[in-house]
Symmetry: C2
Subunit: 404 residues, 2 copies
């Protein structure tokens, strides 16, 4: 019998699409292309010399352990260093609240696996991080989006939506939020807003999935408490990552949650990849142990702040009338809005022809809206490249606006 692969795919595989962002990364292979698309840290932020020294020392002192399988829970020293750093920042968490994951994307995948049955509802922002939406989608979730105001998810609309869903008999599993320098919107929720959302979660007994990859990269303003810190009842799960503050190529992240959730997480991780890569866990642990994480982080923040400032200047100088953008207090992205009736998908095609790329805002909207929005990364390119790229992009947008 000739093979028939299509008919053998699972329902979720049939609906899978290639990630818009990953596909755009391929555009970078064209050396003329200036890409503001990826969420890549700047290579200048990578502590290559320190990693070289630490690698050597680990292979000399614990080489066999670094090449062997590790526990699913994660490297003991790495776990200790993470909890110590949280404690130094005023967040007390126990060993049983912590799990290491192979990047935050794995945490999103595993948490979707352990909470979502097909047809379950998850609540997210309009817009929301695409990688989160993809993971929820794989497990058959129905995403319901809540519009933003300048402080993030609107609480009135959140309550209204939940009441309607509950009345309709829908099973809501969690609210997905990115409180600091939201990806893609660049918005930071003040503590008051976080409290209001947590209150609603309490009232309706919902979990909160708090995704916090950029929290440490704050340029200005006061650090806002994590929802995890405000939570009295163990319903908040918070994701952290080394990808934006150390090295994404190590694929290392962690999460804090209620011990019951961590326990299920570890079980699911056993059959997902047994353990996260051990050698690089040991490198990350020693990097923290030597006090290098926070030392180098200061330089990264300086670098990204100056690039954000420069990008905002370029926007002010070159963007045509009618275009607006967020001014994020930290993170890697800002969000650009064209006039309502404009279509960023069409702008994208023109932009790529002119060797400049961004991510279409529509991919971050679970309800097919946001056609007039664009996500722009400011961490990866040098100031010179930002100038050239934003000139190009502004030109493309001007031309497009004149044609419409």
């Amino acid at each position: 019998m000739p093979k028939d692969i299509e008919s053998k795919l699972s329902r979720s595989a049939k609906s899978m699409k290639r990630s818009a962002i990953r596909e755009i990364l391929k555009l970078l292979q064209n050396p003329e292309m200036i890409s503001f698309a990826g969420g890549l840290p700047s290579p200048e932020s990578f502590p290559v010399e320190e990693v070289k020294d630490i690698s050597k020392s680990i292979l000399e002192n614990q080489g066999a352990a670094a090449l062997q399988y590790g526990t699913t829970e994660g490297d003991p020293l790495l776990r200790e260093m993470i909890l110590k750093r949280h404690s130094d920042q005023g967040l007390e968490a126990a060993q049983e609240n912590l799990a290491i994951s192979t990047g935050s994307q794995q945490a999103l995948d595993i948490l979707s696996k352990i909470f979502i049955d097909p047809g379950d509802v998850i609540i997210c922002g309009l817009p929301s991080y695409l990688g989160g939406l993809s993971s929820f989608n794989v497990y058959g979730a129905k995403p319901e989006g809540i519009p933003f105001d300048e402080h993030g998810m609107r609480v009135d609309l959140l309550r209204e939506k939940i009441e309607k869903l509950v009345a309709g008999g829908e099973k809501i599993k969690f609210i997905y939020v990115i409180p600091d320098f939201q990806n893609p919107a660049g918005i930071t929720m003040p503590e008051s807003r976080r409290k209001e959302i947590l209150k609603i979660a309490d009232e309706f007994d919902l979990l909160v999935l708090e995704d916090s990859p950029y929290r440490d990269i704050r340029f200005e303003g006061k650090t806002q408490k994590l929802m995890y810190e405000m939570d009295q009842s163990g319903r908040v799960i918070t994701l952290f990552t080394f990808s934006k503050i150390f090295a994404p190529g190590f694929r290392l992240a962690w999460l804090l949650a209620d011990p019951l959730i961590i326990d299920k997480f570890i079980m699911a991780k056993q059959s997902a990849d047994i353990c996260s890569p051990v050698f690089v866990q040991k490198i990350a642990a020693e990097y923290m142990n030597r006090g290098l994480l926070d030392k180098n982080l200061g330089k990264t923040i300086e670098l990204y702040r100056s690039r954000r400032d420069h990008m905002l200047e370029c926007f002010n100088k070159y963007m045509p009338e009618g275009v607006s953008w967020t001014k994020p207090e930290g993170g890697l992205f800002l969000f650009l809005k064209l006039p309502e009736e404009m279509n960023a998908d069409e702008v994208f095609d023109l932009a790529v022809k002119n060797n400049v790329a961004f991510v279409k805002g529509s991919v971050f909207h679970c309800n097919d809206c946001g056609k007039n929005t664009m996500r722009i990364n400011f961490s990866y390119c040098s100031k010179e490249t930002i100038t050239t790229g934003i000139k190009r992009l502004s030109g493309v947008i001007s031309d497009y606006m004149k044609m419409h």
Copy 2:
């Protein structure tokens, strides 16, 4: 409202159990314990000095790239080296047939995700690798087990089972096989048996998931063709790993399959972990590029062969009458059978009290059989430890048999 986490778990999370093998690894924390339980390579097989030298060179020459995100498909040089090695061994595969995974366990998880809907049938051996069974279970598969003879899965029973399942309207997705030095049974399927199974897969249009982690660790006898090499219609997916021939702590493996399957695999991997760890991919690539993989493999094979021989000698010397075992031509495990009416679960409890551990054979049986079987690893312990451990284990089994 007080939180209620249990009611929020997905169906699959409710049925998840901690892996028996991973839990047994914790026994190793007792320094008196001799464990034949894990599937750990010997630390003596790890090329620590070579990795030290290569790490240094990578961080000096391509440090930023090693710390940055990589493509989901995997490091280009690593992909090239893998295809070249296959080609040198007579297996021609194209770039589009290849994907890198974060250990074979990730490949098992992702392939389950893209093929299994709840209620779908997968066919496996009695016994079969526990990590495979766990992954299938997470996605709601109904496993159907086929008994073995001395050459592996019995073809008459396989055909009978498939005919019955098809007649009953069941949807069978794939046949899961471990043709070389099967885990846990230690049995190698001759080419003729592989051909017969492939013929049945052709006849009923089934996929074949060929798991091949130990293939390169052959002590004696002629290498048997992979089912992937015999397959004319692209229905065989084959998993390979660096965990048993290089460093499990790197979490690196790969698979070969039809391009359509690889394409879906990559999409699913994007939302599973974006990419496998980049720094260690580059180390593995350069390790192969310098010709070290096959050079060091020879030493590993010598080491494991001598340990297998020694363990078989100890079995012959110390095991009581009525106990039998397989004599594997390669790999890491042998399989021990107590008389039919004996219960290895009870032997396990006694053994642990006497500071020696193995894995109960029942966990590898999807039908709750195999109560009188045990999996014994011979790669990890030194000869001296093997002698002490097998003396202890034989004593425990003797005592147990006298009591029953």
